[in-house]
């Protein structure tokens, strides 16, 4: 199948180096300490953060750092074919772990010993790149909750199909069988904190694809920063400062 037309357009009309439209909103769950919605094209996720708070399970308490927990779940209606979900299947357990490790790497956990931070991400619509969208949503929610972080982690995926590196794969491109590189970076520190790839790629091409994903992550980071700034300005305005 042809994923990039001779004119250089992808199935959904994007250029190879173009991202889907991203949209973010802070404060979707009013009861949570921090929450955010993040959309990448048709992929839409909600993240909620509870904490830092008392550790629920005392045996997990750590005396030198905070305990970070994460749960990823998909809504029954999130995929094209309705699924009767077995909550906590292997895939979601793995993604929960990935998100937890990525977020743990940027939270300043040593500042909050004896406490716990819960991150819950809920996929409302899945159209490829849920991992990235979840990490971006979690970052925003953590920032909204005012949890100290080294940097904003952002994530984006890139792939390689029809001998073209493609940014931000959607579901059709994701299931096409080409390589899929999911990358998470700390944009200010310029460090990669998450890297996953399936399928195989020649090493010189991987470099290009990774570079492309890094560019994508940076674009997301700029957007997230804008949203946060906007949110902070509104809070300031409401306070009447």
């Amino acid at each position: 199948m042809e994923y990039v037309s001779p004119e250089g357009l992808r199935l959904d009309g994007r250029r190879p180096m173009e991202m889907r439209q991203i949209r973010a909103e802070i404060g979707a769950v009013s009861k949570a300490d921090g929450s955010a919605v993040f959309e990448m094209g048709n992929t839409k996720v909600i993240a909620a953060v509870y904490g830092p708070r008392q550790v629920q399970n005392k045996s997990q308490q750590m005396n030198d750092q905070a305990l970070v927990r994460c749960e990823y779940s998909m809504a029954n209606f999130s995929t094209g074919d309705r699924m009767r979900k077995p909550k906590g299947d292997r895939r979601s357990t793995e993604i929960s772990l990935v998100i937890r490790q990525t977020m743990e790497a940027c939270i300043l956990t040593h500042l909050m010993p004896h406490s716990q931070i819960d991150i819950f991400v809920q996929v409302l619509q899945a159209d490829g790149g849920t991992r990235s969208a979840c990490i971006n949503a979690a970052t925003l929610a953590l920032a909204d909750a005012g949890i100290p972080m080294r940097d904003l982690v952002t994530s984006c995926s890139a792939g390689y199909l029809n001998s073209t590196p493609l940014l931000d794969l959607n579901y059709v491109e994701d299931s096409a069988g080409g390589a899929d590189v999911t990358l998470g970076i700390l944009p200010k520190l310029d460090k990669v904190t998450l890297l996953q790839m399936d399928s195989k790629l020649p090493i010189d091409i991987l470099e290009n694809v990774m570079q492309l994903a890094i560019e994508g992550c940076k674009a997301v980071a700029n957007y997230i920063r804008e949203i946060l700034l906007e949110n902070t300005k509104q809070l300031e305005y409401r306070r009447g400062v």
Binding site: A28, S30, F120, L124
Partner: protein, 287 residues
């Protein structure tokens, strides 16, 4: 879990007794309701309903299936509710399962009528494509995104809105196929059938706190309840289903009293919901 001090508990109870609740509402007043339709493009119909800080999404997906042997002339509808852990950390893992099951059965009872399918808010016979062979199976999925009390009413409203947003593709059956063969179907992707949702009931939950009962309780108020009765009422003011929750017993005469109050409140709620749904649909068409 809501942790309230003794003083706060007394304050809530006292407010309810004096017909002035913590957020300034009267006992029989709802929080502002906002409806958004078409939020899940992959579904046949969907809606998001917000009542104060309670936020739920309902989606309707239709699949072609086989009618059950007992009711060959009726389609099947099932309701599943899922409590997302974003709403409450306690719903993590399997923690929300109990509440999900409770809500699902209560909604099934209130919206789908008896086992025979009689009295359902949705006309089940309109879902049949070929008698005894093919029908539409409707899967209604609810998701609780944020919970601040009164989930059942919000879910009921969301399902009503999602159903009125639902379009079921028209199916053309190829003529001439013999009766025992599998008929050829042509599912149209342009023509859609809309549901008549005017008979879909709304659910009113009356929560009893102290001597009085209130509608649309927040989670703080729910923590003070002795019992709650959920009554589903349709536009004709007939009762479609009743569920009682909570431990304390209720005097039968109070239940009858509650039912008549629910009938009265339902009228306002149905009108409010209908106008919200209409404006949401209008906004949807424009965009």
């Amino acid at each position: 879990m809501v942790g309230l001090s003794l003083g706060e508990q007394h304050f809530i109870q006292g407010g309810i007794a004096q017909d002035l609740r913590c957020d300034g509402r009267k006992r029989l007043a709802y929080r502002p309701i906002s409806v958004e339709t078409g939020v899940i493009p992959q579904a046949n119909g969907s809606a998001r309903v917000r009542m104060g800080a309670t936020d739920v999404i309902a989606s309707v997906k239709a699949e072609l299936g086989k009618p059950s042997l007992l009711q060959p002339n009726k389609g099947k509808v099932s309701i599943y509710i899922d409590c997302s852990s974003t709403a409450e950390p306690a719903f993590e893992g399997r923690g929300g399962d109990e509440l999900s099951a409770e809500l699902s059965t209560a909604l099934q009872r209130c919206l789908l009528g008896g086992k025979s399918g009689a009295g359902a808010g949705i006309d089940l016979s309109s879902l049949v494509v070929i008698d005894g062979k093919i029908c539409w199976d409707l899967y209604i999925d609810g998701l609780v995104v944020s919970s601040d009390g009164n989930l059942l009413d919000a879910l009921g409203a969301a399902i009503k809105a999602a159903l009125s947003n639902t379009g079921i593709p028209r199916v053309h059956v190829a003529a001439g196929a013999s009766s025992d063969e599998k008929p050829e179907l042509d599912v149209s992707d342009e023509e859609f059938l809309q549901f008549d949702t005017s008979s879909v009931p709304v659910i009113i939950t009356l929560t009893k706190v102290g001597k009085h009962y209130i509608v649309d309780a927040t989670s703080e108020e729910e923590s003070q309840m002795s019992s709650a009765v959920s009554i589903s009422v349709n536009r004709q003011r007939s009762i479609c289903g009743i569920t009682k929750r909570g431990g304390a017993g209720l005097d039968p005469s109070i239940i009858l009293d509650m039912i008549s109050v629910a009938q009265h409140v339902s009228e306002q709620l149905i009108n409010k919901l209908d106008s919200e749904i209409a404006s949401a649909e209008a906004g949807d068409d424009e965009s």
